[in-house]
Amino acid sequence: MKFKVGASEKLDMLKFKNLGIEREKIINSSYIDAIKFDYKLNNLVNEIHPKEIKVKVANIINENLETKTFELKPINGTLPNFKAGQYIVLDINKNNHTYKRSYSISSSPKNLESYQITVKRVRNGLVSNYLLNDVKVGMEFTIHGPFGEFTYNKFRDMPDVLALVGGSGITPIMSLARAINDKAEDFNLTIIYGDREEKDLIFKKELDELASQNEKIKVKYLLSDEHSSVYDTGLISKDIISEYEIGKYSYFVCGPIHFYHHLNEIFKELDVPNKYIRHDIFKENEILRHIKHELTVLTNDEEVTIPCYEDEPLLQALEEASIDAPRKCLVGVCGFCRSKLVDGKIRTDETSLREADKDYNYIHPCVSYPLSDVTIKLCK
């Protein structure tokens, strides 16, 4: 087949031969200024998603006997915007260890002067006790984030949200309520806040104020260990959830893991589709360290063997041994601690591993517990 595209076959051929020469000419006539990797968008990444932020404790508020709110102000520059419901990771340097813990921001996203985190004492909790006992105004910390998907999305979530809260799970919900009041979010929020006794409730005064001032916010309390004429007694039950029309509400569940499991059973019984359920969980199991194994940790440069225990997440064993493993959420959701199980048996909590990761024995050490001596390889 003979054909031409331009004026003549000959010219087409010439054009072809000149493609490289043309390119060369354009390069040679281009300007010689030095290249500078300075792009507004790439610079903005560092403002919106900085690798770390240095902060100072600007204020400490006693919420109740066992709970304090820490107000963290940036030492330099501004804080990233965040969505109510997100968390930060706080680095705590203590006894030559760096502990990383995730805390939901409890303050309003409209306030970027500071982030507030609210910490409740966990029995024998190393970090919570340190924060409540030893941290003073003026102390400096490094934080990371904000991260997390426990946030309201108008395309996904219903205009009415029922927040089901267990104990200190109130912290991200507080941020959501404050966000509604500050018009940073726009939805109707009904909070059912369960705790043991009245004295354990956090933010009660402000929640009552918000509920009385803002028609979009409602709050109900439920005490499990105290009988009173003012509050309902018991746990969040099927009957209580059934009072709210199924299909009309999105459920935001926040509390300890057993609380989440309890509610999940109820949702199953009530046939609530997944679409309506969002959760943010934390773990406060006491670690007894009875059954001991050996954990061998491989990195590119070294191999270390440390003790680990059957009821202790591998990540915590690493932390105890001052091995700086990547970590963020600590509850098996974010995937940042992803490591490879080289040898040994583990048990793992519910976690979000990619399908292909499973084929190559990747695990999330934050929710993995040893059942034998174990070898893992970190990604660093």
Binding site: M1, F3, K4, V5, G6, E9, D12, M13, K15, F16, N18, L19, G20, E22, R23, E24, I26, I27, N28, S30, Y31, I32, A34, I35, K36, F37, D38, Y39, K40, L41, N42, L44, V45, I48, H49, T78, P80, N81, E149, N153, K154, F155, R156, P273, N274, K275, N300, P326, G335, F336, R338, S352, L353, R354, E355, A356, D357, Y360, C379, K380
Partner: protein, 513 residues
Amino acid sequence: MNYDAIVIGAGNGGLVSALKLQKEGKKVLLLESHNTVGGVATSFIRGRFEFEASLHELCGFGNENNVGEVYELFKDLDILDKIKMNEIDETFHVITLDTKEEYTMPVGVSNFINKMEEYVPGSKESMEKFFDLCKENQEALNYLNESKGNVDAKVLKSKYHDFMIYASYPLEDVLESIKMPKKAREILSTYWTYLGSPATELSFVHYASMIYSYVNLHPVISSKKSHELSLALYEKFLSLGGDAKLLTTVNKIIVDDNKVKGVVTSDDKTYYAKVVIANVSPNLVYGKLIDIEDVPIKARQLTNARILGARGICVYLGLNKSPEELGLKNYSYFIYHTLDSKKEFERMKKLKNDNMVGVVINNAVPDASPKGTTMLYLTGLLFSDIFTKVVTKDNYFDLKDAISENFIETFEKATGVNIQDAIEEIEVATPLTFARYTNHPDGVIYGYLAKKSDNLLPRMMNQNNEDYVEGLYFAGGFASRLSGYSSTYKSGEMSALKALAKLDKKEVAKDEV
């Protein structure tokens, strides 16, 4: 520490380079700033959905009976037994918003031609001609690849005569010259967004090679998202003894006397090597990683002469109904206002443009998400820096919402399918997201704009003349094969071959075309 080669960035190009070199017995260090490999060839989890980050369909693969170049590459790299590919029984499906047209094109050359004849009576002869040219085009490109720069002009002239004639022209000009009816030209050009330039700018060679590989070889998609492919390459590399450091950023490439010497990483370690393969942008390499006085003038000139290509916007949707329940029958939904690619290209310079490609991955991989659910990806491109101009720290979340709304509403309008009520998970990636995960300038996802002298052929013809720093080669979407999965995989192979030639002290022959 000393290595033969250091690869910066574990994207498609970097992974292939690293594995190829390791497989050839070289000592390789692969450095990646994130905690997993693949660059945008990865996946992420939201609730019970594992979302594909970027792969729509892989071209150039085929199968054992009809082997494409990516199949051959993966065979050479010995990873075929680690991946499972699924054929997609549709080349593309396009809907126009303003002109209310809809076309679904099948796979297989004769099916494709017949279907086009059905849509555009009288197009058959020109379509046959088109596929003849495609075939020659493929053979000519193979010849150019295999000759590794030692091109015999006589062979070209005798065997690939037509190729030489159309090679310097854009798609539109060649289609006109073979008298393809306008409507057929428009339909055929549907894929133009995948390459990032309108039919009037896009090189015929490039477009023909892509569409031929889709139509002739079947588009495919991996079972476990592109993460499966990235991980297969990476794990093979590790199993052969390759060293990799994730969560490690390269802060500096050491150059001395115009020769690459090594790199300095974010943990303040220095690694030495004769070869560095950069699976990052030349803008980053010449603008930040190499000391300013060590950047050759020609490298500056080349980089300054280029235009950044498309920025991407993706809305990832996890829907709580099956594709059948929703009424989503097709794999792909190319949605444009019209089929006039030049006009649409201009429209896509504006932030509020709603041209997109929707992909329903379950229609090729039914268990890509839990039973009774659907994963739908809506991807749009921006051919300007408008997003950068508009975005601020304070309006970013609102901008993401506006993008989601725009895309979801248009998709519903184009298809008549209600997706809003089924949204169980939603995530949005903007140019800022891509800038965060790739550090590409301005968050571009397609490297440089494929236009005129920066089209495929001129890049390939001059590729051996543009390695301005000795021992430094580029892989990935900014390199000579341009962007896209199959291209970036091949770019990784090409840079590895250059590196091997250098390490084994063979001279790379000059291109004689």
